[in-house]
């Protein structure tokens, strides 16, 4: 099942700094880790932008994004009741059935976007959540209240611990680690997990054009050859990744 239509914007909320949350209605229940290709009809940009499912509940699809260029800036200027082009859910998402044992979720910056909906889907497994931010934190409240533990780290120490999130997790304490965030953070986590034989899944990000696996613009090199982040991913098993 795929949604491919114009949807009315229910909310397009400024969360903080350059972080926004877009809400549209959808009957389709996405998998955690999936994303949508979103394009407003305003502005002079061409391609839809891939945006992660932050949450889905009661028919409301919540997409969290960071304004990082012209396209996302234009999307952030759209108003409630404006029509927006929505295609998805896309990508493989996390395979919940594989996530058993002691689980850590490690997110950084806008990389926390897919992790909230993931956590909601595995709440019963009581994952520990590690979230890292540069300075301002956002969307922390969503990660409660049934969490086992929430460790917040900021580079300036403004909120939570001071430093990098990678310094506060001992991957050996876990059976499975799930990560999404800046490349350098994910690389560190993946490398640590592979060294310690801990299962690790990473949700990757790349520039995309089609979002459905046709254009081959978003491929990454893996141990099994080129893989499309949009179609074969965005979630990859760490053992496949070349870090």
């Amino acid at each position: 099942m795929m949604k491919n239509d114009m949807s009315k914007i229910i909310e397009n909320k400024h969360i903080c700094d350059n972080i926004f949350e877009l809400v549209v209605l959808s009957d389709i229940v996405p998998l955690p880790g999936q994303f949508y290709m979103i394009k407003g009809l305003n502005g002079d940009y061409l391609l839809p932008r891939p945006i992660s499912v932050h949450n889905y509940q009661d028919g409301k699809l919540r997409l969290l994004y960071r304004v990082s260029g012209h396209g996302t800036d234009q999307i952030s200027r759209m108003k409630v009741n404006d029509n927006i082009q929505v295609l998805g859910p896309l990508g493989n998402g996390f395979d919940i059935a594989l996530l058993n044992g002691k689980i850590a979720i490690v997110g950084g910056g806008i990389g926390i976007a897919p992790l909230l909906y993931l956590m909601k889907n595995i709440e019963s497994k009581k994952p520990d959540v590690y979230l890292g931010f540069k300075d301002e934190t956002f969307c922390l409240e969503g990660f409660g209240p049934n969490r086992n533990e929430l460790i917040v780290v900021t580079e300036d120490g403004n909120t939570g611990h001071k430093g990098y999130v990678t310094d506060f997790i001992n991957v050996k304490d876990y059976d499975i680690v799930i990560t999404c965030g800046p490349e350098i953070m994910m690389e560190k986590i993946i490398r640590a997990c592979l060294e310690k034989n801990v299962e690790v899944y990473a949700s990757m990000e790349k520039r995309m054009a089609c979002g459905v696996g046709a254009c081959l613009g978003c491929v990454i090199n893996t141990k099994n050859g080129n893989k499309r982040v949009c179609k074969d991913g965005p979630v990859f098993n760490g053992t496949d990744l070349t870090v």
Partner: protein
Amino acid sequence: MANLKVDFLGKVFKNPVVAASGTFGFGEEYNDIYDVGLLGGISSKGLTLKSKQGNEGIRLWETPMGLMNSIGLQNPGVESFISREINIMKQYKTNVIANLGGNTLDDYLIGVKLLNDSEVDIIELNISCPNVKEGGMAFGIKADIAYNTVKAVREICRKPLMVKLSPNAESIPEMAAACEEAGADALSLINTINAMAIDIYARKSVFNNYYAGLSGPAVKPIALRMVHQSAKAVKIPVCGMGGISSGVDAIEFIMAGASIIQVGTANFVKADSCLDIIKELDEFLDSQGIRDIKEITGII
């Protein structure tokens, strides 16, 4: 309901809208979104004799109303295509066009020989890929090299042969005429325009290959001019493309001399753009009291 049906190289196209090579894979991803059998045809991802991994580094870069790409012909190779991907394409009840690229003349010849025995409807000979370091585009720049290539391919090719021209050719009318004289059954154009983007902070080209191919609405007026020039220069039919995003765009290309058109970048902008274009074509013809699309082909 105007008649959108076009006879092109002896094949019936239920409408003149074809998904362009490199933007549509082998159809299966888009068939998850809509019935791609509604299209006039699908041109396959550009094939090479041996499989290719494509280019390293950034492969996509958006420009004002344009898209630069440097995919580098990542593809499974002709043999895999014949044993696997062609079967996927054939199930869609639409014309299957095999887009074939090459680094050497031998690559083209062996590739064509293999495709001769396959079920493809048309071969689109790509003498114009800008993203492969050695060869590739060289065939599409000089009319005499293109002539020799097309002539050699023509001698062994048993499928309808459409030659895809590069906008980077020294002279489009000369190139078009040379390909016709060499035995091409049709021309398609334009491929992407060789272009560049620079990351001023990193002080280097965005693309590892320095240059990349520009497509999308930004190139449309140039493409339209080149299609018009080609159509005037030859008697064989022309398949027009380059930034077509709407029914209006498609009509412009048809009026400029294109019998059929291809839609590329627009598939990314809106996944079912091709269907919108087919609908808009039909509406335009009805609104103008035109009963058959062929009435307006090449009228400019």
